[in-house]
């Protein structure tokens, strides 16, 4: 009785003044997404965007790019005005779950080194901060996509190949390989050979142990325990079991399907055996729960090409079904296959029926859900376009025919049937377009290496033209944070700059204030997102290439790329014309062939991107336009101009 009374009195006093803003009522999930084609995604590497909470600043090293810098969810929420100003409608945030703290002097700041799928990465905040961020985004009609990884966990264990119980690492070789020469098998870029029990080369029979007397069978794996570095017991419990992992060592030949699917991801990231039923169930439970906890609206999924399609069928369908039961539909999942092979990347969105063996696994395990079908992901991160469109064409002035050819394969390679209970849009229409991201050098880094003209003005023009393509092409544009601030870092981790430490804009010597909204590229993006919002054709219209060319030299049409956006759900029309040539003006005409458009003859089209110049479609349906080097136009019918 006394204890109860005391407890009540204390509880009254204590709870009266401490509460989490978002967590004390059960979250009821809702469908916030409407039509994913309308979205503009902004990719945020949380650690690098904004530090809003000193309370989670643990062991920061802001001067080294491979270490934690302090950004967090609170910081991102505090900067939503900035992001909204840009015209963004969806946030893609880096992984939220607890990571290996540090490994080989590199931190898990990026979020791709999972150790515990059930807990948040405290560097970024707690669940309250995450839920608050998502709620704040929803209040602004913005959506949130969470990045996840199912292919691998962090470097949780080592292979005890010599059975001595400790992780051995050896460096050998001369290091004399001439720079630029091919890397022989077993060697790294430096020419040294790394022999490491953390990350041994792939062995299809499993990593083997050897002693001085010879082979000793399968090498046992050892999970080191070191809380300071974050090497703690993996969770859920299934991820602490050796047989959850394939244990075959590091993938070094991506063309070998076995290595691709069962090898560890380079860097010692341990490959999960995603063909196991219990692993599939655990992954669904672990990641669906983050949506149930946060009300986020989608997943960006890492390294999908390293995971069997049977997993994707199960994972995506069960996640959709589970969330839909709770009121969350149109949940959007797009996968990243870091590859220029369009056929390969498209494998994960096309309808691909399960095998009998696969279905037997579910039957044997009395899987409670509906029968698994051929549905997979909603969309793909359009890496082929990154290479063949943005790099080859927009940056290097390559053949625009290459981009047209790529687009022509979309329906074939990505599929035209939306998965059941999905966002409801055919995968080929909602591919996630991007110029660059956290895994590749920034566009401006490459622009600064331009062979024709390295001037700041040219670099900016190249970027602006690429952005024009990004925001007008069919699909969902995804802008990597900092692009609008003209960040120009090279490869990872140089491309992961702190937003709070801006660089001088191109051609300038002093940096603007952080989160500046007055810069030329910020305003350019703002303009493009504004056009996209104003003209439905730029969001939902079907894309049809009306002019492309293999010419890249002195030809009068070299570098021209033009496409229409019309049809689909919208009767409106837009015509986008780009001149990617970097040396001369080009026109939409070569010899006796002039660009033909579907706008009615006599229609007056207005360049809403430029100075509102008007052009009239000729009586034969052709339209001849001339564009200065590295420029573009967005033409809409005069009556539609806003």
């Amino acid at each position: 009785m006394l204890r109860t009374t005391l407890f009540s009195l204390f509880a009254l006093g204590l709870t009266a003044c401490m509460h989490f803003d978002t967590l004390e009522d059960t979250l009821v999930m809702q469908t916030h997404a409407r039509d994913w084609r309308d979205e503009v995604i902004y990719q945020v590497l949380i650690d690098r965007f904004s530090d809003g909470d000193d309370g989670n600043n643990y062991l920061l090293d802001r001067e080294n790019m491979a270490r934690y810098h302090g950004g967090d969810w609170v910081g991102l929420e505090q900067r939503l005005d900035y992001i909204e100003d840009l015209g963004v409608t969806t946030l893609w945030i880096s992984p939220v779950i607890k990571n290996i703290e540090t490994d080989a002097n590199v931190d898990g700041y990026h979020g791709y080194w999972a150790v515990d799928l059930t807990k948040p990465n405290l560097h970024f905040g707690d669940l309250n901060a995450l839920r608050s961020l998502v709620a704040a985004a929803h209040d602004r009609d913005m959506l949130v996509v969470i990045d996840i990884v199912t292919n691998h966990m962090g470097q949780l264990f080592f292979y005890d190949m010599n059975l001595n119980g400790v992780p051995d690492i050896q460096l050998s070789g001369t290091g004399m390989r001439p720079q630029g020469s091919p890397v022989p098998d077993g060697f790294d870029q430096s020419g040294f050979t790394h022999l490491t029990e953390y990350d041994p080369d792939f062995n299809p029979d499993g990593i083997q142990a050897f002693t001085s007397l010879g082979p000793a069978g399968i090498a046992p794996i050892i999970f080191p325990y070191n809380p300071k570095t974050g090497h703690v017991t993996p969770m859920p419990e299934i991820f602490a079991r050796p047989d959850t992992y394939n244990r075959k060592g590091r993938t070094f030949n991506y063309d070998d399907p076995q290595q691709l699917l069962t090898g560890d991801f380079p860097g010692g990231l341990k490959d999960v055996n995603t063909t196991r039923y219990d692993v599939k169930v655990a992954m669904v439970d672990a990641y669906a729960r983050w949506i149930e906890l946060s009300d986020a609206d989608g997943f960006r999924i890492d390294t999908v090409k390293h995971v069997e399609r049977e997993f994707w069928r199960y994972f995506t369908q069960r996640v959709r079904q589970r969330l839909a039961k709770q009121g969350k539909t149109k949940f959007f999942m797009f996968g990243e296959a870091f590859d220029g092979d369009d056929v390969l990347v498209g494998q994960f969105t096309k309808n691909d029926p399960p095998s009998a063996e696969e279905l037997k696994q579910y039957a044997d395990n009395k899987d409670p859900g509906p029968t698994i079908t051929g549905d997979q992901l909603d969309s793909a991160f359009y890496f082929p376009q990154h290479y063949r469109g943005f790099r080859n064409v927009m940056l290097d002035a390559g053949s625009t025919q290459e981009l047209a050819d790529l687009w022509a394969q979309k329906t074939t390679n990505y599929g035209t049937t939306p998965p059941a209970q999905s966002a409801g849009i055919a995968p080929y229409k909602v591919l996630v377009n991007f110029i660059d991201n956290h895994d590749v050098a920034r566009f401006l880094y490459w622009a600064s290496q331009n062979k024709v003209d390295k001037s700041p003005a040219r670099q900016r023009a190249l970027l602006h033209n690429a952005l024009l393509l990004l925001f007008t092409a069919e699909g969902i544009p995804c802008l990597y944070y900092g692009t609008e601030q003209e960040f120009r870092g090279g490869n990872d981790p140089s491309n992961r700059e702190d937003m709070w430490r801006p660089l001088p804009y191109l051609g300038q010597t002093s940096a603007p204030r952080p989160y500046d909204t007055g810069g030329p590229t910020f305003q350019w993006v703002q303009r493009l997102t504004g056009l996209r919002a104003a003209y439905p054709a730029l969001r939902r219209g079907d894309a049809k290439v009306v002019y492309s060319t293999a010419h890249t030299a002195d030809e009068p049409d070299a570098g021209i790329f033009a496409f229409e956006r019309t049809g689909g759900d919208t009767p409106t029309y837009a015509l986008v014309v780009l001149n990617t040539n970097q040396t001369h003006a080009s026109s939409t005409k070569f010899e006796d062939m002039t660009m033909k458009v579907s706008a009615p003859k006599g229609a007056v089209l207005v360049d809403v991107l430029g100075d509102k110049q008007k052009f009239t479609v000729a009586g034969d349906g052709t339209l001849e336009l001339s564009l200065a080097p590295v420029t573009g136009m967005v033409l809409v019918p005069q009556q539609d101009v806003k």
Binding site: F7, L27, G70
Partner: protein, 581 residues
């Protein structure tokens, strides 16, 4: 959940036989500095420490001890209370020592009472041992007397749990039951002189303190030592009622013995101060103090290695950041007498903390600016006392803001994005008292504390907590007694507890304890009478929330019931630290 691995809950202190120094009962600064006395504050600074300049973690605040203080009514002989005993032979009230609670401390020092016979213990009527040549009541504040003097506070205990593991502080709140405190001792040496020419008194105080562990426990011929006092004070120099001091000093007011807690004012400072007691009766006093410190933390000091000047070989250390904290305090006290010996004492109290701006190196030749910062404390106290049998009731309230919320010997553990402590605060409200009648008495206390770090987001460092505690005692004649102690403490931290599916609240932990403490004492009855040789048994019950504050494999994370069994001693006598503030 990610946590600084250095960070452990309060209750993970280990007593020597068991105990750790930090379990000895840390001063209020530690309480203010963090929600856990054993928390080693993280630097609130971002960026790495430059290797050569990486300072050691902040030290734990010095462990104080607890005894009745100047304003806490001292022991009065039970036989001196005619109303209690009805003994016609009892001394008249006028013969009893004047309760110091009724007299401003400066008044107490104005009249040397080195040969105050009235302080002779009432129980000292039996046969040998022969009375000392200078008998005194160890529970009375020492008066001035020319020459060298010695005083001490100490406690030593041998203890364990039911499984034979060392006894260990099990409290989850910053200030919990002190039954499981570990070893601690202060040895005070002082020199006192009366100057006929000026009518002034000089007192030089040097107090050495020893914390756990002790040699006879671990066999290590070493000690954890601190100099807790080293100051000189002049009283009556130039003006009656005026006192001036300078040096290093424990500078504090009244405590709650049961919690080892000075809730209103408890400064450990190097500086100086002056006080003035007004009027003949000196019922009103005003004290001002200012001091400097530099806790060992990169928030205050950072050194880096540089090439020596004049093209010399080697390297030399340079303090890139080297800033001190200024702490000043002001205390106004007034006592209203009531009845023969009772009264009401009121205190208004304030502190101001300030640190100048600076810069630190976060990478070679890359600097981070640190802005100046400040904080304040405002508080008050009301104490009503009878002047008899140490009976009193005290209420305190204190609010600390900004830099001051972390305490005087600590660095902020979190900052706002502008690198200031704006928003950090600590609120403490306490109630404590003692009542004695005949052979029985009860001591009690309790507090509510709210601490919020500078960062707006709730996290593990953000705490609401409180405790209620009572210790009734019965004395068997003048030789022995039996105390029982019961307490219940709760703590709420800003970390998630899933109370229902997908519904979370800040975790709430509760811990209850009952204890039995039989003791023998030569000083007779009285809650503040010491020395004691005592046996302690305490039963602790912790709920799931409390267990969740301990790391996996810590026995406290698994045990809902714990036993503490110990035997030890506690004493205090003749020490200025516990009678004058």
């Amino acid at each position: 959940m990610r946590r600084d691995p250095r960070r452990v809950p309060a209750a993970s202190n280990v007593l020597v036989v068991g105990a750790l120094a930090s379990g000895l009962g840390l001063a209020a600064p530690a309480l203010a500095a963090s929600s856990s006395p054993t928390t080693v504050p993280r630097a609130a600074l971002a960026g790495p420490a430059v290797p050569a300049a990486a300072p050691a973690p902040s030290p734990l605040p010095p462990p104080p001890s607890s005894q009745p203080t100047a304003s806490q009514p001292p022991i009065t002989d039970p036989s001196a209370d005619p109303g209690d005993s009805g003994d016609a032979s009892a001394p008249a009230p006028s013969e009893t020592p004047a309760p110091t609670s009724a007299i401003p401390s400066t008044a107490a020092v104005a009249v040397p009472r080195a040969t105050d016979e009235s302080a002779k213990p009432a129980g000292a009527t039996a046969d040998p041992p022969p009375p000392p040549s200078d008998p005194h009541d160890p529970n009375q504040p020492p008066g001035y007397a020319n020459g060298f003097h010695f005083g001490s506070y100490g406690r030593v205990i041998a203890a364990g749990d039911a499984a034979g593991r060392p006894g260990r502080d099990a409290d989850i709140v910053s200030r919990g039951s002190r039954l499981d405190e570990s070893n601690y001792a202060e040895l005070e040496l002082r020199r006192e002189d009366y100057w006929k020419k000026t009518g002034a008194y000089t007192r030089i105080v040097a107090t050495t303190a020893f914390a756990n562990p002790v040699f006879h426990y671990n066999g290590q011929f070493a000690a954890s030592i601190a100099l807790r006092n080293l100051y000189l004070e002049e009283t009556g120099l130039g003006a009656k009622g005026l006192s001036v001091w300078a040096g290093s000093r424990m500078y504090r007011g009244d405590d709650i013995y049961l919690l080892n807690f000075w809730p209103l004012d408890n400064l450990n400072t190097i500086g100086g101060g002056l006080g003035y007691a007004f009027g003949e009766a000196r019922r009103t006093s005003l004290k001002f103090h200012a001091g400097l410190n530099q806790p060992t933390d990169p928030y205050y000091r950072q050194t880096v290695l540089r090439a020596p000047p004049q093209n010399q070989f080697g390297e030399t250390e340079v303090a890139i950041l080297d800033r001190q904290k200024l702490i000043s305090s002001l205390k106004l006290t007034h006592t209203w007498p009531l009845g023969e010996a009772g009264g009401v004492k009121g205190i208004l109290y304030g502190e101001f903390h300030y640190v100048p701006d600076g810069q630190r190196e976060v990478e070679s030749k890359v600097y981070e600016a640190l802005p100046k910062d400040f904080g304040f404390v405002a508080g008050g106290q009301v104490t009503a006392f009878t002047g008899k049998r140490s009976t009193y009731l005290t209420v305190t309230g204190r609010f600390a803001q900004g830099l001051a919320a972390y305490g005087e010997l600590n660095a902020p553990t979190q900052l706002r994005p502008n690198r200031r402590t704006t928003g950090a605060h600590e609120l403490i409200v306490t109630l404590s008292g003692n009542w004695e009648k005949g052979p029985v008495g009860v001591m009690f206390g309790g507090y509510y504390r709210q601490f919020r770090n500078a960062s707006k987001q709730l996290d593990f460092d953000d705490v609401n907590e409180g405790i209620v505690i009572a210790r009734p005692t019965v004395w068997f004649g003048q030789l022995a007694g039996l105390s029982l102690e019961g307490s219940y403490q709760m703590q709420q931290r800003g970390v998630l507890q899933e109370i229902d599916t997908n519904t979370f609240k800040p975790v709430i932990a509760g811990l209850g304890r009952v204890g039995i403490i039989p003791f023998i004492t030569p000083g007779g009855a009285g809650g503040f009478q010491r020395p004691h040789i005592r046996f302690i048994y305490a039963l602790t019950v912790r709920d799931a929330g409390a267990r969740s504050f301990y790391a996996a494999d810590d026995v406290f994370s698994r045990r809902s019931v714990d036993h503490f069994i110990g035997m030890g001693a506690e004493w205090w006598f003749g020490s200025t630290s516990y009678f004058r503030d």
